[in-house]
Symmetry: C2
Subunit: 438 residues, 2 copies
């Protein structure tokens, strides 16, 4: 799945590489501003960043997919309406508060859109809102309106980095991926680290292109690209109420072949999806499960998800412990509860290229055990450190490599195949989430 | 759900209470023995306990339910056959290795049964085997046969405690619950701390009674009692390959009313199920979700499970953080993905008796926030301690109280109801499971 196999020895190296990915497509400017406010529900000082993505002129060619969570945030409700609008001129994003099921949430979101539109000389329906952060709190609309002129003033072409940095919450680093084709480019940014098992869309992702693609083609391509990327990952099995992937074309570069565009778009989405997992909260190992020769695509994907979401197996991976019994347990749980009747008699399991299960029994020995431990250690992103205060924090804020724990599930009973990415379950995850709001 | 509301200030207090629960029903003896061995797959010294439950004479009146995991352990395969046997005379249980998908697993299990039968003068089909522990490894049959005579020699009536202690793995304390009726008693013991989301049966549970109940009644009652108890709990959403609940009657006490028996049996099972959650790996808070006025029982139970299995909400509870947004996210994820079309418009949510959500929006304020924090703190079993070596261990090996984090989900759209129990997600859980085998 990864189109790259990069390693970074330091934050500076990673930042230098990000700079090579950051050139904005023609026709876009981005800006961000940070300000202080006090949430109504828990009166303690907090910081919010407003990020603005603006087109030089409104475009009819935009697409978006949203979460399937049954309690979507107010920006999702507004965003679904925007899909019917004739054009899009800007995207306004805030972090810290996700504006989900807060009293008056839709009105709050519309007020922010209206003021953004006024400052940019757009109509309110030409502004797409996004919010991410604590669920349940209300937006500090007055403070946001006060900060908006600074975001507008910061708008600049050239680099997408200020937007990639502006939209993050618990992310350790900004995520940017690009593809070039036909004289134009596709550049995507993503925010997302926890509450990640997207169902149809994910987190906040914005993909900008200057390649002219008609609205209908853009929307069909985005749906397929998202299914092949963000819908195959899970950090913690939780599906956000704010998941959004938006794709916007400024149309500045004459159209390329639709299939080539979709292929490049899918590549950008897959790389960003892997970035999101690799920077998942507390993730020390990325786990890649390839399920092959399944009877159906649904079975292949669900089985992959069942493995990357099994807490005990995730803990074993965190400990570089090849406890493959927990892997078989996860498969058996899924099949027993969700897919009874599945033929498991020809199942073959590989971990790190080593056969560990076939013909209904484990194929283990002490030499394999050592090789499996070595595979897990090689895929570890950083060594955990026992902290003095009990709060575990990743010691680096860049991805040291792009290696994965590689699991191969061969069902030998069909022709469907899926690859699913997930993360391990670590002290760093618990530290991040047992104390997130304080 | 809890039939008791006990508090224990020390291990000694808890042990004294256990002693009051431990009297064996007439017609049973138990014995256990511990021995050293070296697993083939990972040659390091290990310890195993063999636990024997023996009837004074074989009984036709026994029942058992087993895991729905599609990779059941060899003892489950053997146990399903035993259900067709005319009588049961003994149960032989080992911990440390679960004998799941190990080459020759069924033969190994049968050899242990045959030797147990020989020593007790039973036929091999009168012995029910159980194994729990690492998945994938093979049983050390020769070492087990060598230790069996000690287990037989240790057989004694009086107290079930040696069996309750013998079957544990990562449990912090033995679990025993009893009911008395009609001059007889029902006494159950349970082992289970991790890999716990039973689906039809759970972990290892043995319920012994001297009350005469015919086999058919016993089996029907057990199925219903398990559905109302072990099938409504989840520590970590993982379903064990070894889950077993066995119920055996020695028939020494003349039969009581079948309905009264089933009610008492259900009470014992529910109390044991709650014990298993309370002693779940790393559990610091037991979470009890009562889903009311749902359209179907399935929706009520699945929604409860979705809440107690949502990692981010579990982490928030661990941190005494009333991050109720994560609770709504979990409900919305389940309904959006698994039960679309469910009417959520009349949903009312309570936490600790405090209304937090109704009419589609959150009902929060700083005073409620303080009260919610107080509720979470009161339900905490122990304060976590930041350890010097980074390995978090529960500081007590007894349950300090039986309070729960109380969540009420009122869907106001039907008449079905379910109560589900789960635990939080803590550093203690990760410490336990990232390093379990080493």
């Amino acid at each position: 799945m990864p189109s790259t196999n990069l390693t970074f020895a330091s934050r500076a190296e990673h930042r230098a590489w990000l700079a090579t990915q950051s050139a904005l497509p023609a026709g876009f400017r981005v800006g961000a501003t940070k300000f202080d406010f006090t949430p109504r529900e828990a009166p303690k000082p907090a910081k919010m960043t407003l990020t603005l993505i603006a087109l030089d002129r409104p475009t009819p060619d935009f697409a978006a997919v949203f979460t399937r969570n049954a309690f979507p945030g107010a920006p999702i409700i507004v965003g679904r309406q925007r899909l019917g609008a004739p054009a899009l001129g800007a995207i306004i994003v805030n972090n810290k508060i996700s504006n989900v099921c807060a009293p008056g949430g839709v009105e709050a979101s519309e007020r922010v859109c209206a003021e953004t539109a006024r400052l940019l000389k757009l109509s309110a329906t030409e502004v797409l809102p996004s919010s991410t952060g604590v669920i349940g709190w209300g937006l500090p609309v007055d403070a946001m309106l006060g900060a908006l002129p600074q975001a507008v003033g910061a708008l600049a072409g050239g680099s997408i980095l200020p937007a990639a940095e502006g939209i993050v919450t618990t992310d350790l680093y900004p995520k940017i991926r690009r593809a070039s084709l036909g004289g134009g480019s596709i550049v995507g940014i993503a925010k997302g680290a926890g509450m990640i098992e997207p169902n149809m869309a994910t987190m906040l992702v914005y993909v900008l292109t200057d390649i002219a693609v008609p609205r209908a083609t853009l929307r069909a391509s985005l749906t397929r690209a998202v299914n092949a990327s963000f819908n195959t990952i899970s950090v913690d099995s939780d599906t956000s109420t704010s998941d959004t992937v938006a794709l916007v074309s400024s149309g500045r570069v004459a159209g390329v072949d639709a299939a080539a565009f979709e292929q490049a778009l899918t590549g950008v989405c897959r790389d960003l999806a892997e970035d999101v997992v690799r920077n998942g909260e507390g993730v020390r190992h990325v786990i890649r499960v390839r399920v092959q020769r399944a009877a159906t695509l649904e079975l292949a994907r669900d089985l992959g998800k069942a493995i990357v979401n099994a807490p005990l197996f995730k803990c074993a991976v965190a400990g570089n412990d090849p406890n493959v019994g927990r892997l078989v347990q996860a498969i058996g749980k899924h099949v027993g509860a969700q897919a009874p009747g599945t033929d498991l008699s020809k199942l073959k399991l590989m971990l790190g290229g080593i056969e560990i299960f076939s013909g209904g029994v484990f194929r283990l020995n002490p030499d394999k055990e050592k090789a499996l431990v070595a595979h897990l250690r090689r895929a570890e992103l950083y060594a955990t450190a026992a902290p003095k205060d009990g709060v575990f924090t990743p010691p680096i804020d860049y991805p040291s490599h792009e290696r994965c724990v590689e699991i191969n599930v061969d069902l030998n009973s069909g022709s469907a195949e899926a690859t699913v990415l997930g993360g391990d379950l670590t002290h760093e995850y618990v530290s991040e989430n047992a104390d997130y709001r304080s």
